[in-house]
């Protein structure tokens, strides 16, 4: 019920606010969310109960080793996976399924290979029932925003990894979500491309003020992008430390304070990984 309200609301906003793109983010409350997978090999505890409040328009990075449950948490926030315990509130409403107010971006970009770039970006708008002419115009605008003008007719296999992520970002932005959930979106890219996309993402975020939850295992990436960095322990994941990053934007990876901050967080992360076995005993 509440989910229906969210959907129709975001539809209105997508319709009325397409000119400026200044529609901001919403807050997220994660209360006691945990995840236990039950499979043939028994049960696996992926995520210890997590409590987390993310403000509207905040850029939060979830940092941790692979398989620490941070991606699972992102899927739960997206509503693509049910939590074993606890609840997620988006803008004060209980999340009960996927909604176009929260869009998940994947490391593999997950573009549809049977559609060209233009129609990939139009996909979400088509589901919302946006008229064809408006869809085309919106898709063009967002492709321009991610510097992919002229690639409208290309197919996915013709694009580089960085270009695919740009299309995925344009596709997500086109439906004007309040929250971008990014699951290691730049993890498979080379360092140069990644840096460029960091800058572009930061620009888009500061002009739209959407809420961003960004999962990564790269400390520098987390520090370069986040207002806050939450360090996760290895599986079963839980938040071990929280860092507030008050460095001015736009940030440079060469900045000394950024390097220092990264070193400090890396130490905490190493400790979390190292203590893992001992932690298991104490629960």
């Amino acid at each position: 019920m509440s989910y229906q309200v969210t959907l129709s609301q975001s539809r209105n906003e997508a319709g009325s606010d397409r000119g400026s793109g200044s529609y901001g983010g919403i807050s997220l409350q994660i209360e006691n969310v945990s995840k236990v997978f039950t499979g043939r090999a028994g049960t696996v505890e992926a995520l210890r109960p997590v409590n987390l409040t993310i403000e509207a328009g905040e850029f939060v990075c979830l940092l941790g080793p692979s398989g620490c449950g941070k991606s699972t948490l992102l899927s739960i926030i997206a509503g693509l996976e049910p939590a074993t315990t606890g609840s997620v509130m988006a803008d004060g409403r209980n999340v009960q399924g996927p909604g176009t107010d929260r869009v998940l971006l994947f490391q593999e970009a997950a573009l549809f290979p049977w559609l060209d770039v233009q129609h990939n970006v139009e996909f979400g708008l088509r589901q919302l029932g946006t008229p064809a002419a408006e869809r085309r115009a919106l898709a063009r605008r967002f492709l321009e925003l991610v510097h992919l003008k002229g690639f409208e007719r290309s197919y996915v296999h013709q694009l580089s990894g960085g270009m695919r992520q740009r299309v995925a970002i344009a596709r997500a932005l086109a439906i004007n979500p309040a929250v971008l959930l990014m699951d290691e979106p730049f993890g498979a890219l080379d360092a140069l491309t990644r840096d460029r996309l960091h800058t572009e993402l930061e620009t888009i975020w500061s002009s739209t003020r959407k809420t961003v939850v960004f999962v990564t295992h790269n400390v520098r990436e987390a520090v370069a992008l986040g207002d806050r960095v939450l360090v996760f322990s290895p599986r079963p994941g839980r938040i071990v430390r929280e860092f507030r990053i008050d460095l001015p934007r736009p940030r440079s990876l060469e900045d000394h304070s950024l390097v220092d901050e990264s070193a400090e967080i890396l130490t905490v992360l190493r400790e979390a990984i190292g203590e893992h076995e001992g932690e298991d005993e104490n629960g």
């Binding site: 176009t100 929260r102 549809f112 049977w114 589901q127 197919y155």
Partner: protein, 266 residues
């Protein structure tokens, strides 16, 4: 620059050479055929030469008989195949998306697929008599299971990330099936469609052999009855040409289109 020119020349020569070899091969084959026919090892009415067969084809088409037979056979194929296509798509989607149907109906279809569809013919004649319905039934049995299994395989092998992304962007129910699940499964579906058409065409020809109404299969049988090997061979050639034409003109472009879009290499 010189390298690039050299390369393009090699490419054009490489794509031309197979055709040249093919033409030479078939010319040699025709010549060999003619020599054997002229040698008199077998009588003319049992082993006619290529010219006799060619003239039988020309006569057959000029008196309208072959055209009519082609029409009858192709319309049976079209009706049977269309029904298989619709039923196979629905059945394949259901089996691919539902584990209980997969375990039950899926294994039944896998078993039935092992049965050559012409084996349905005696039963079809018992049920429907020597009628159009009997032969169309056999065509359906030929194509249906291949198409169903192709759709099923395509749906099951679809990367789940496409479904996640689509659901996340608001795709539901019919839109999820028509805009994501089916197109994502398309490469496997096309394989099933191709295999289904081959099986349907073969079982149609086999079935028509025992039917009395004019059709391609029936023309083969009449040729035998008249002791006219040139007509039998002529009809065989027509059947081969139709088969190759459908492969090249219908399935070829569809396959190429999908390969180009997805970037699948040959």
């Amino acid at each position: 620059m010189a390298k690039a020119v050299d390369f393009s020349q090699r490419v054009s020569r490489a794509s031309f050479a197979p055709w040249l070899r093919r033409i030479l091969f078939f010319a040699a084959l025709l010549m060999l055929w003619q020599v054997i026919a002229m040698s008199g090892i077998w009588p003319d009415y049992l082993f006619p030469g290529p010219f006799a067969v060619l003239s039988a084809i020309i006569t057959g088409f000029s008196n309208g008989l072959y055209l009519q037979a082609v029409g009858v056979s192709l319309s049976r194929l079209a009706i049977g195949y269309s029904i298989s296509l619709v039923v196979g798509l629905v059945l394949g989607l259901l089996i691919g998306r539902n584990r209980i149907l997969e375990e039950t109906v899926g294994s039944l279809i896998l078993g039935l697929q092992a049965l050559p569809s012409v084996c349905w013919l005696p039963l079809a004649i018992l049920w429907f008599g020597l009628s159009e319905r009997a032969i169309i039934f056999v065509v359906i049995m030929g194509a249906l299971f291949s198409i169903t299994l192709g759709v099923d395989a395509g749906v099951k092998n679809t990367n789940p990330i496409y479904l996640k992304a689509a659901r996340n962007m608001g795709a539901r129910n019919v839109a999820l099936y028509s805009q994501v699940i089916l197109p994502a499964a398309l490469p496997a579906i096309i394989n099933g469609l191709k295999q289904g058409w081959t099986f349907a065409w073969r079982s149609l020809m086999a079935g028509e052999l025992i039917f009395f109404t004019l059709s391609l299969g029936n023309l083969l049988q009449t040729g035998r009855d008249l002791n006219d090997a040139s007509q039998v061979m002529a009809v065989m050639v027509v059947i081969i040409i139709i088969g190759v034409a459908i492969d090249v003109l219908i399935f070829g472009p569809i396959e190429r289109n999908v390969r180009d879009r997805w970037g699948l290499s040959r």
